[in-house]
Amino acid sequence: MDMVLEADRLGKRYGSTWALRDCSLHLPAGRIAALVGPNGAGKSTLLHLAVGLLKPDAGAVRVFGRSPYGDTQGLADIGFVAQDTPLYRDFTAAELVFAGGKLNRRWDAALARTRLAQLGIPPDRPVGKLSGGQRAQVALALALAKQPRLLLLDEPVASLDPLARREFLQSLMGSVADSGTTVLLSSHLLADLERVCDYLIVLNAAQVQLAGAVDDLVAAHRQLVGPRHDGGVIGGVAAVVRASHTDRQSTLLVRTDGPVTDPAWTVRDVSLEDVVLAYLADGAVQTSHSEWGVAA
């Protein structure tokens, strides 16, 4: 399978703090991938490394087989919309489309104009005076005008109201269907992602907790409810991701490697959200205990 983005033990350090550490992952072509994690997990750092805005301190990242840092040639294939969609606020949308044409090797101005016209974005107002949703649409239209093979979006919908968020995702899905662009978008809004993304990368505390195709990840996890469990082996369970206990009952979210047939356990299917939350909660508790110097 064609890999669009590959990271191999990738790391980035700010001072003595690792913002991203030992990050190894592969993003296959044609996917719409979600990069999920709490604030400060390293999502933006990973995206900035992928687009060549940051230089790795450890390991390597490759986009279409090339190292992005300092590689202006490779940039033509990457579209990037940074957090809060920074645009030159005094420029109008029409001026931004024109400027993009002067600054890029490959540029489909007609595509951008058509998209913006369909969305009813005024061409002659400074984008600083547009609504947040309209500004996000302008940024997306500009990124798509490059006809990128990989589109990176950093929290594209976080600051938008529900209607603008839906309209943004509609535009994005429509254009992905047309172009077949691979997309990697970071978000902490899980509900939106379940329908949009077919690949998931969970980052927490600077490390990759989980990565894979959504269908595979959901199929490989189950929730077990049964009598109190103290760490023995359960047939069909590869790993316990998260466990909560009362004095007589245990609820486990597990990764399976076969059917769980032990009749003591009630086995339930899980949603993508269940899986993500289990991995995030797990990481948070471990970090907090070690930082406070107390036993877990």
Partner: protein
């Protein structure tokens, strides 16, 4: 042309909801052979869902022989699920409406009716239809 609707509270995953809606439309005669399914791009955009999800649903329907893709044109219905029973459904429906009015007059609630239909259905059809394995 049909329009897909998603139930966000449903536990059924998105691609299966699309498959079920096409089958439902085939069963009641809303779609018949030769009809075109909505374009992948249009479904992805209007529902704000991954185009791969729509492709997966259409591929599933294709494997079942219900629809066929014509490259560059679209996906078209090849077979109906309405079968020979469709012409008889209108008359049966009228009978059912009359019966439901009688049930209502006799004091049955909607839940009573459903329970009665389900148990009767099981009891009556169990003898001549092989039971399907529960999924």
């Amino acid at each position: 042309m049909i329009e897909f609707v998603l139930d966000s509270r449903s536990k059924v995953n998105t691609y299966m909801q699309l498959v079920q809606q096409v089958k439902q439309a085939l069963r009641v005669g809303l779609l018949s052979p030769g009809d075109q399914l909505p374009k992948v791009r249009d479904v992805a955009q209007s529902l704000a869902i991954n185009p791969n999800t729509v492709l997966k649903a259409y591929r599933e329907l294709e494997i079942e022989g219900l629809v066929g893709g014509r490259p560059g044109v679209g996906t078209f219905v090849q077979r109906t699920l309405a079968g020979a029973s469709l012409p008889n459904q209108a008359e049966l429906r009228d009978d059912l409406v009359a019966w439901l009015h009688r049930a209502q007059a006799a004091g049955l609630t909607a839940e009573d009716v459903i329970a009665l239909v389900e148990t009767t259905l099981r009891a009556t059809l169990a003898d001549d239809t092989p039971q399907k394995e529960p999924a």
